[in-house]
Amino acid sequence: MVASAVFGLGMALFTTRELLQKKIRSAQYVFWMSLWLGLILIGVVPQFYSAILLITSVLGMYTPIHFVTTFSILILFTVVYLLAKRVSELNEKIGLLVQRIAVQSIKGEADRLTEKEA
């Protein structure tokens, strides 16, 4: 529990620095900070761990680690989905950019194709 709190604190500081350096967006900051705060709370406030135990029993899971693992996998699936979507969008934009650069680069040469527009 102490290890998770130390790790959470370290990552929270790192994430805050990333935000201040404008390397991540505020929405991303909120997402990751909530995760790090959860880790810190597990170490600092023992009652929080009790809350996890309660959720575990309500969900009918054997141990808290089952709950944490399942929950983490669900979060990771969501993150992978969002990243794949973003990569696909960026791929499309890069394609359009490459085409635009290519079309603009032949302006002079394209006279031979009897260009309509300059």
Binding site: V98, Q99, I101, V103, S105, I106, E109, T114, K116
Partner: protein
């Protein structure tokens, strides 16, 4: 009618020169889209008197073709012919390809490798093409025997209206389905194809599955 030939090419220095020279005899101008080749494809094409447009990153066959279409549409062309840069298509068949457009019988003419009896196409390619053509025919609600053929002719108004978005091999089916749904007239003419043994470039099984999936998505619309 003014005819522009668009040839997408990736590392085709061995064949592109001859193709450009032969195509120039049947078209008013030839445009080679060099898809970030690592060899001298661009130089060889220029020497053969083609206009060359180069991608700074490799986009794939569909991306290279749509760049070619965008450049061609900036000109006063009436017909755009597309063909592969690997020597698979015979440029001397361009007149028979554009003939139905000149006679106002079609808006798109697809050079079909299957309208002639042929045995030299590798079995896996024949099977894959057959499957994809059936799926494309279903989505386009018309019989298309060779949906993956890159040897085609388009009337200008088709490209003004329909432009594919796929950067990979899906463009071939995508543009046919979109054109058929927009009620453009599509016609196929037989072409001869030269297959080079041991050449394993072109769409693979993964590309085939992607085309099939994207065609199925079109069908549901």
């Amino acid at each position: 009618m003014r005819v522009v030939c668009v040839i997408p090419a990736f590392e085709e220095e061995a064949t592109i020169g001859q193709i450009v020279e032969a195509a120039s005899g049947h078209c008013d101008s030839v445009l080679v889209v060099d898809d970030c080749s690592g060899d001298r494809t661009g130089d060889v094409s220029r020497r053969a008197k083609a206009v060359v447009v180069r991608h700074i990153l490799r986009l794939g066959a569909g991306g290279a073709l749509s760049t070619g279409f965008k450049v061609a549409l900036k000109t006063d062309c009436d017909v755009v012919v597309t063909m592969d840069g690997d020597g698979q298509h015979d440029p001397h068949e361009i007149p028979s390809l554009i003939d139905p457009i000149l006679k106002d019988q079609a808006d798109i003419v697809v050079g079909s490798r299957f309208l002639k009896e042929r045995r030299d196409m590798p079995f896996d390619k024949r099977l894959g093409n057959r499957l994809l053509s059936e799926a494309t025919s279903l989505a386009a609600s018309m019989k298309i025997t060779d949906s993956q053929s890159g040897f085609r002719a388009y009337r200008r108004k088709v490209l003004d209206y329909v432009m594919h978005r796929s950067m990979d091999y899906r463009w071939a089916s995508e543009i046919l389905i979109a054109a058929a749904r927009a009620d453009f007239r599509i016609k196929e003419v037989p072409i001869t194809t030269i297959y080079v043994r041991n050449r394993r470039r072109g769409a693979n099984i993964r590309d085939g599955l992607r085309i099939l999936f994207s065609t199925a998505r079109h069908e549901r619309r």
